[in-house]
Symmetry: C2
Subunit: 555 residues, 2 copies
Amino acid sequence: MSLIEKHREEITKAIEALHQRTFYAAFPEHPAPAIYGETADADGQAKFKSYLGKKFDELKQTGATGWAGQEESPYLQEPLKISYPISSVDTLISNALAAFQTWRKVSIDDRGGILLESLDSVKNRFFDIAYATMHTTGQGYMMAFQASGPHAADRALEAIAAAYEELNRFPAKAVWDKPMGKFNVQLNKEWRAVPKGISVVIGCSTFPTWNSVTGIYASLMTGNPVIVKPHPGAILPIAIFVAEIQKVLVENNLDPNICQLAVDTFDKMITKELAEHPSVKLIDFTGNSAFGSYLEALPGKTVFTEKTGVNSVILDSVEDIDKTAANLAFSVNLYSGQMCTAPQNFYIPASGIKTPGGTVSFEEFAEKFVGQINSLVDNPKAGPFVLGAVQSKKTAERVAEAAHLPGKVWLKSRVFENPMFKNARVATPVVVEVDSSKKDVFSKELFGPIALLIKTKSTDESVALAQEMARQHGAISCGAYTTDAQVKEKIADEMALAATPVSFNLTGAIYMNQNAAFSDFHVTGGNPSGNASFTNPDYVNRRFTWVGHREPVKK
Amino acid sequence: MSLIEKHREEITKAIEALHQRTFYAAFPEHPAPAIYGETADADGQAKFKSYLGKKFDELKQTGATGWAGQEESPYLQEPLKISYPISSVDTLISNALAAFQTWRKVSIDDRGGILLESLDSVKNRFFDIAYATMHTTGQGYMMAFQASGPHAADRALEAIAAAYEELNRFPAKAVWDKPMGKFNVQLNKEWRAVPKGISVVIGCSTFPTWNSVTGIYASLMTGNPVIVKPHPGAILPIAIFVAEIQKVLVENNLDPNICQLAVDTFDKMITKELAEHPSVKLIDFTGNSAFGSYLEALPGKTVFTEKTGVNSVILDSVEDIDKTAANLAFSVNLYSGQMCTAPQNFYIPASGIKTPGGTVSFEEFAEKFVGQINSLVDNPKAGPFVLGAVQSKKTAERVAEAAHLPGKVWLKSRVFENPMFKNARVATPVVVEVDSSKKDVFSKELFGPIALLIKTKSTDESVALAQEMARQHGAISCGAYTTDAQVKEKIADEMALAATPVSFNLTGAIYMNQNAAFSDFHVTGGNPSGNASFTNPDYVNRRFTWVGHREPVKK
């Protein structure tokens, strides 16, 4: 049985899910022993430990000239001392060009089968990847497992499904038979989905697999060779992913260089050299706006970006103020605010928030919000695991500086003890009150656990500011609380014009930070936070070109 | 009955045709009295004459401050003296911004119904548009009728159909019901296709409707207001189109400024001011590479271009050398080589072209080609009508200069008499032999009736040069003649990598210049000749953004 036949049901279901947008997940998100096996967690932890201080030798790519790696665990604040093969840009490019000639000629079905098989294979590595993710990003265990494992695999599957559908959108052949009056002109026509060329996928330090696998799988599925350039601080999780892809390629007698890992170090970054190489046609990037905008402006490249944004919460009226504050407190605490979807600017009218029991003043809400943050942080069974660790020193510094922003500090950032990692780099959220007139303070992303409570004249001003921030500086998510149908439609319409998805009235176990494959488009592509969206049709069909040839039918 | 119901069958058929890519045309291409009415042609001619020397008063848009127009007939070499309303860029933009607020809220079905109705309405103007096209572009009557009338309307319908499908690709609403173990999280989700904003469509002087209506209809269908900026030398054909769109908008109680005509004059061009305006989000452009590349690099805009290219013909082996020469001679003569799909570089091996009757030498082919060009030019019943007139003085000058290219001139350009227009600006093709080493001569577009016969070492060199030209300088079409299956696949593969469609072995009544709606993608978007393709999914879905909102299901 060919690989695609083995995975036929999987791809069919995934394509269906992409269109229905109801709940769908192919990879179970819970790290339960009943699902993944009794020893899976312990094995994963042991596997992770076995990598420390050694050469990562699972890759099958060719042409390395040395070994290097500078990852450091935010939990241990110690180097992992794992080293990876280092190759020159010239070698990476020439490997990819050679691999392109075989990979582009592999049929759509065979490409699909191989890539789906690689996801099945990665499934056995979810726990290895989870520990690798914890000790590079600082994510808590549960997020590290879910985001880097099953959720990333679901996003990869989604990209494969979307590409599979696009590649099969037009017929491979057709007879074009045009009546001309006394005779017909008959042409045999054929259409080829021609891959654009070398694809470079540039990873970030906080979500090393989730934010990269969509680009990797979308480019591979459409026939392009991929060079994966991880953030030098978060290599291991995606290295395991790439190793599994290479393993399946080799098992199918294909060149492992079809998908290469391009590791670099902080002192010798190769990203620009790679991106500017004339043979590189596709670039996927997650990271800061300055570098993302530089990439977007490179001529002759097709570039997919997720950059930074200023995410807003609009508070107008609520059914339950305590549940609202609790929900938002969780969103701010989750992975210490290091998600691209985490809220930053909370717009609250000076007149307060309307509730069934009367108006809750700005100050009362601030107190409730701070209280909820503290109660989660101080819960030893939840706090340390929800907050995790802070990935970079820069983020920790930014949080410390935030206490000096011009405005009342409602909550200072502090440290807490992680029972498992005494040396973890941690920081609880800082909450600062800012007046709506101080736009320079809140009109930029303050990455990390930093929440600004912005006092506005009215909900109208709140909406206008949220829209302006999204239009000018980008936004990936927006939370809004209102019990008024007219206000709700106004927010929905104004934020839609700023290409920002809105989560309305979330309470309980669902948060504005969360973003589900097959249902939520991640980043819309319509504001400065990024030009691409997981996974809309553009995300895959801009990776290849439809070319049609024709010839008269032989009589 | 709503307009969309009136046109339901039309849109359904068009979407089906887009996917089948077999022959389909909704608007009959022949100007036969039996189809369009006994007096249609005479009426059209009379209507065209009635415009001369007058104000064009059919537009319903608002805010004009004056009247101007500088069109000149290439057939008469006299000004048409038609003047059009002139508006400031500020007025055009503020009109469009106001119109955006109503148009974006018109339902997809209603937008579709209105736009399809406008095409029905334009159908009654095909003969008016044909004469308007002749006397602005210099096209012969038959091409002017077909390209600006039915073929343009088919391309517009294709864009409507593609957009209609994309807009309906994802559900408007869905319930997302995620099992969480002991409970389910249930969210009501909704997705909005949010139009990007003001769309500017910049026309060219040679195909004023065919190259513009796709962008106009694609942007309108996706909810964007459109500002049509025609070439100052070819306004009337598209002015009639826009007038019909505005008429249907007003009949449906909508703002005519949803689609405005923005006329300018050679001495005061407004294109850059329009394109750079921050409120302009979408730009469609047909024209020269320098301006197209400037537009593509404008930050924050979605830009669709058709620029220039160097189209090649690869001659390897043929079944019938005379039929081949005749077919290519027609392609060069057709509209005096002023089509973006016209061939320019003919690659012929020094060893000649293989035929069943033996090898035809480079020189023998050159003689046959020249003979076929002359025989068509000198046929008084065909020549003048196939060649038409030369749109601009610059093109006429370029043809004259081509005689001084470094190489043997096989055929000089000359004038001929058009029996209906004694003053027509005409030029027959110039044919020059160039050695394959003189790349500087043939590695640029020489727009107009200029054919270069390039002597190569082998077909391999021919293919390599054709591919290099397409990759470096762009190509919109390619002709290839070979009876060898392996050579054919090599050409198909190498030119596909350069994103160039190939017409193989055309003889008889079908030419490499021709490009059919619903079947041939026009410009692939994959080489420097342009970044857009009529009409692939990108062409429409990059004009709007998918934005999803969500809210917990009320218990």
